[in-house]
């Protein structure tokens, strides 16, 4: 009896101690982080990445071309592939655009060393198509196409706001905005298990600095055409919706955001 009482007291006190220790930890974290000015850092790295994005893109296109070449020779009997142009011609244009951007900057020399660093980093991550695509996107600075919001707020799939860190109304506003931008590809069969998870990094104004498909290796697997189409449509929706309707406060809660696109409900009906 006394022994179990002793255990009870020790464990309870441990729990209380942990709560006391961890709760302030949770409270403190948001206050600690902002002074690092992480927003600016991201911007700089984005800019420095620009000159190398086309390089990465070229490599990507090369690999893509090679794949396509194979397909062409099998599928279309009279097909002859135009190899040279897709590789050569788009590049000069991209470079011109880069130059313009660099001219606008005040200290072009200062940025150069950083470019080299980022290029190495970039090469390692070449496989991540979405990241590179997002960078290219940034280079041209997507103008915000504000879609008129269709307020089709549904009761379904509402998550607990405490778990997500957004209030229900904030989450609904965001969801409704993306509903309007997402054109679901209608050809999808409704019995497929299709769920696209996209991880976003956001700026304070709701524009996207990075978008990543979490199961992106699935995109290039054979027999996953429908998944690929859906993933692309989801990415299109996110880009069209920029800037996202995010709450004015609590940036650290939502600067990383995961969107789960699931068309099952729509395709059934």
């Amino acid at each position: 009896m006394i022994r179990s009482l002793f255990y009870s007291i020790t464990f309870h006190s441990i729990m209380i101690l942990l709560t006391v220790l961890s709760l302030p930890f949770m409270l403190r974290e948001p206050i600690d982080l902002p002074p690092i000015v992480s927003v600016e850092l991201i911007q700089i790295s984005d800019r420095t990445n620009i000159p190398y994005a086309p390089k990465a893109r070229k490599i990507l296109e090369d690999t893509k071309k090679k794949e396509e070449e194979r397909v062409v020779s099998e599928q279309a009997p009279p097909a002859a592939k135009a190899k040279e142009k897709p590789d050569r011609i788009p590049l000069p244009d991209v470079k011109k655009e880069e130059k313009k951007i660099i001219k606008k900057k005040q200290n072009p020399e200062e940025i150069k060393p950083e470019i080299r660093q980022s290029s190495e980093f970039e090469k390692k991550e070449i496989i991540d198509t979405n990241q590179i695509a997002a960078l290219i996107d940034k280079a041209k600075e997507v103008e915000a196409v504000e879609k008129s919001e269709k307020n089709k707020i549904t009761q379904s799939n509402k998550k607990n706001s405490f778990a997500t860190g957004l209030t229900l109304s904030e989450e609904d506003a965001l969801r409704a905005q993306i509903f309007g931008c997402w054109s679901i590809p209608l050809g999808l069969p409704y019995d497929e298990n299709l769920l696209v998870r996209i991880k976003l990094q956001l700026k304070k104004d709701g524009t996207i600095t990075k978008s990543e498909i979490l199961d992106h290796e699935r995109m290039n697997k054979p027999g996953q055409k429908f998944y690929k189409v859906l993933a692309e449509s989801a990415l299109r929706a996110v880009r069209l919706c920029q800037p996202l309707k995010v709450p004015p406060t609590g940036y650290d809660n939502w600067k990383d955001l995961q969107l789960n696109f699931n068309p099952a409900e729509m395709l059934k009906g």
Binding site: Q75, K159, R175, G187, K225, A234, E265
Partner: protein, 445 residues
């Protein structure tokens, strides 16, 4: 004990960290067709002239065919060319994505063509405008008179890239062309491209022709024709024009259809006054009986894997749909609804069966799962029947007749198509009245 406390503490930290990522479920979107811009193809100035082909207009014409194909699907919204800001040749090299996004396009098709050494070379590119990148690029070389087919093949490639499904534009439809008054109809076998162009007549019209059906693997057709009041089953090779008689069968022979591998024909005919289902091996010409029942069994159709056969039978009283194994065993009734069911056709995708239903004097075309659940009626009319699937299993073509007056006036028969969502119903343009359509597989396969 110390370790445990540290572990629990670490757990707490990770617990709080792992919940920092906010997840939002997106379960709805808009079903608006995807806005797509099809820029006219740039015609290279080095192009030579070629007999009967207006080279200068070719770029415009090919882009129009692609646009029409997309429009007919209901999945795409081709934007008007008046709003296009970039010239075709420059757009093909490197589109200004911002300009195209301004007109609300999400995808862009550009292209270039050239005729050299009596060969037409067409290249095209598909651009994702929101991601500002190229999605696919291909080039085709062919004889210039084949330009319509190139347009269809390009449409197929784009459709496949944007929907994940195979396209169905480079296909043909065979049907029975009808002319003359209702009681003296002249029926000819006719074939056309899926968009209604290039109509050709394959028979003269002095014999009655019925139920043409494509071989799913190549460009062969089987059909029935009456010769001295005896039904005969024919095989017709469309490429060479050669015809052969598969066999004479007793009266009341119906609807011969190919097996998925194209090696057999399945049909129903009446022997000793009782209609049953038979298959015939095209090499050995051996006839095998599949069903043996005192009721009327007709309209057999193989599943795409060849393991099952759907058919209709009146063994339960009213005509209903049944599915059995391809050897005739394990017969299961799949429809239990009110009304009469007929002409079951298994989708090439294997997931659905299309059928005609008659209920209270109205005709419906519908689809259901292969076990009979999930019945959906797509369209209702005075008289319509004989659905046939597009090769990707997304669209059905069928024919519809209007009510005739006492003397047969006002009677028409036309081909219609509808997709499996039931939204996109369209009338196909045929030169004459038409019935009994059958959709081919992809020509370029």
């Amino acid at each position: 004990m110390k370790n445990i406390i540290i572990l629990v503490f670490l757990n707490f930290i990770f617990f709080t960290k792992s919940h920092s990522l906010i997840e939002v479920d997106i379960t709805r979107g808009n079903l608006d067709p995807l806005p797509i811009a099809v820029s006219p193809l740039h015609v290279d100035i080095k192009s030579e002239n070629f007999e009967d082909v207006k080279v200068k207009e070719l770029g415009e014409n090919i882009s129009k065919i692609i646009e029409n194909n997309f429009k007919s699907t209901g999945l795409f919204n081709p934007l008007k060319k008046d709003a296009f800001v970039q010239k075709p040749d420059i757009a093909h090299l490197k589109p200004r994505f911002e300009d195209w996004r301004l007109i609300k396009a999400q995808a862009l098709v550009t292209g270039k063509l050239l005729i050299k050494d009596e060969k037409l070379k067409v290249e095209f590119r598909l651009w994702d405008l929101t991601a500002a990148k190229e999605m696919t690029a291909l080039a085709f070389t062919t004889t210039p008179s084949n330009w319509r087919r190139v347009a269809h093949i390009i449409s197929d490639k784009i459709y496949e890239r944007l929907t994940g499904e195979e396209g169905y534009f480079d296909t043909r439809i065979i049907y029975v062309a009808e002319s003359g008054p209702k009681n003296q109809r002249i029926k000819k076998l006719a074939i056309m491209d899926q968009d209604g162009a290039n109509t050709k007549y394959l028979t003269l019209g002095n014999e009655l022709v019925l139920t043409p059906r494509f071989n799913p693997t190549n460009q062969m057709v089987t059909y029935m024709s009456y010769f001295r009041n005896m039904p005969r089953v024919y095989l017709l090779d469309i490429e060479t024009g050669t015809q052969e008689v598969v066999g004479n069968f007793p009266g009341m022979t119906f609807a011969p259809r190919f097996s998925p591998d194209g090696k057999k024909i399945i049909m129903s005919f009446a022997k000793d006054g009782n209609s049953d289902i038979y298959t015939m091996d095209l090499e050995t010409r051996l006839v095998e009986r599949i069903t043996e029942h005192s009721s009327i069994d007709t309209s057999p159709s193989f599943s795409p894997d060849g393991k099952f056969i759907a058919f209709n039978s009146d063994r339960s009283g009213l005509q209903q749909l049944y599915v059995m194994r391809s050897d005739g065993s394990n017969v299961k009734r799949i429809t239990f609804g009110k009304g009469i069911y007929g002409t079951p056709v298994w989708s090439p995708r294997g997931d659905l069966i299309a059928f005609t239903k008659m209920h209270k004097g109205r005709f419906y075309i519908g689809v259901m799962r292969t076990d009979g659940t999930g019945e959906r009626l797509l369209t209702e009319n005075y008289y319509q029947e004989a659905p046939s699937w597009s090769p990707n299993g997304r669209v059905l073509v069928f024919y519809r007749e209007t009510k005739a007056g006492e003397k047969g006036e006002g009677f028409t028969a036309k081909l219609w198509s509808i997709d499996i969502t039931g939204y996109n119903e369209r009338k196909l343009s045929t030169k004459t009245d038409a019935s009994d359509p059958s959709w081919s597989s992809l020509l370029s396969k």
